[in-house]
């Protein structure tokens, strides 16, 4: 019985395997969301008004499930750095903003109604702090000295995935957060903020792409996939390119959406 996908050193097999921790985690998230919706909605009318958010939340959970469960989760944890990178991008740049968009204001407020939690969240979601925090999470969770031991254990692998989720929540709150006491950035600032994030990962992506040797023993010495004869260095370079190109594409997609929203809105243009 498996809890979370991790590097086992076992030969890869297309034989399906259940990961109970992944299911339990996602079901818990859904159950909490449903309970919060039932118990926290101020009125039935307000709940109905925000009903569209449920689709976003469920879609976010589905994306998480697709990348955390077998086969993507296992391939990423123990066999291919490029798949792990895809997992990272989908969790941080797709699933988490979807989940945040799925939270109505009254539910977001319940998470941090006031006091130290709200103060902490307010501090963490200052744009500069949020950017630094998220990128610190990225750097730490991609450092070979961290990745190698953690990914060999199920709890360690879970910790990495959880760190990505929490880091992404902090990053995305200034852009898609619905907490009434944590005002979002204006749209021009959102674009600048997301643009900055499209630049910063160039550093770790370059390390992955231009390294002379595989950086992660866990992937270099992993059993090879028979159907996919990809060398460890090529795999790592693919991971670096994915981080830069696919990550950039997702972030620039968000910038484009924001720009069109801004253009269609009454928000004042920035005068320089």
């Amino acid at each position: 019985m498996n809890f979370w996908c991790s590097a086992t050193g076992e030969p890869w097999s297309w034989q399906w395997q259940p990961y109970l921790g992944v299911w339990a985690f996602l079901l818990a998230v859904l159950a909490l969301y449903a309970a919060a919706w039932r118990r926290l909605a101020p009125t039935a009318a307000e709940a109905d008004e925000e009903g569209w958010r449920r689709k976003w939340f469920v879609a976010g959970v589905v994306v998480l499930w697709l990348v955390l469960d077998w086969p993507v989760g296992l391939l990423g944890s123990g066999y291919l750095a490029s798949v792990k990178m895809l997992q990272f991008l989908m969790i941080t740049l797709v699933a988490v903003p979807m989940l945040l968009r799925g939270l109505p204001p009254w539910m977001a407020r319940a998470v941090a109604p006031g006091g130290w939690r709200l103060r902490a969240l307010r501090g963490l979601t200052q744009p500069i702090v949020a950017l630094l925090t998220f990128n610190a999470v990225i750097l730490i969770t991609h450092a070979p000295i961290v990745v190698d031991p953690l990914q060999r254990s199920e709890l360690g692998s879970f910790a990495i995935d959880l760190a990505w989720m929490l880091g992404a929540v902090i990053f995305w709150l200034p852009v898609v957060g619905a907490h009434p006491d944590l005002p979002r950035l204006t749209r021009p600032l959102q674009m600048a903020y997301v643009f900055a994030q499209s630049i910063l990962p160039t550093i770790p992506a370059s390390f992955l792409t231009f390294a002379d040797f595989p950086l992660y023993p866990v992937y270099e010495l992993a059993p090879r996939l028979e159907d996919l004869r990809i060398g460890a260095l090529t795999d790592q370079r693919t991971a670096g390119l994915l981080m830069k190109i696919v990550g950039g594409f997702l972030l620039w997609g968000r910038i484009a959406v924001t720009w069109f929203q801004w253009a269609a809105s009454d928000e004042e243009p920035v005068v320089t």
Partner: protein
Amino acid sequence: MRHADLRGRVTALLLGLAVLSAACVPPTTGDAAEPSGSDDPVPEHPEGVESSAAEGWHGEWLDDPIERPEVTLDDTDGEPFAIDEETEGQITLLFFGFTHCPDVCPAHLATISAALDRLPYSDTRHIDVVFVTVDPERDTAERLEEYVGGIDERITALRGDLDEVIEAMDAVDLPPPAFGEPDEDGAYDVSHAAAILAFSEDGPARLVYPFGIRSEGWVADLPRMVRGEEIAE
């Protein structure tokens, strides 16, 4: 009050997850050096041979140097290949494995191949990599050629009768392979020593490389062997 209720549920769910994770943690698996699926693992290192960390090298020092095996096997063209004669004067990495090996063999060979790619020809021309199959029944000459060709054409693949292969392994103090029971498809696991013996240009192997040596390690060590640097404990 409702918030406190929800917090209680969150705590309960987190505790539940923690309990589940504890229940799901699998027992510690064996040494990754041992090919999986066999109940009868064989030692990774040469039998009865003492080895210890070699000073400044990624391989392990052999207290008693091992001579090249005086055994003749067949290459993938079916031509006889006398290991000691054909590799004489070359740095020789000798590895026994099999093409159906799902973990150790492809990773071992891939790291060596990646290292050879990084080294200049002036170094690699002094290095022979010899892969001997311990599963000659399934590893035909064609399959061997296809297998090593898919990894690195600089690798010399050899085969022979199982007795000859065991004789070659015995000559370098490696234990014979252990064969698992065939499944319904006739597939079976082979447990074999994962060590790579590194013979110096002038003869014996002073270093043995267990599974886990990365390409960076080979890139550091192989040029030093080519330069004839002294290997010491």
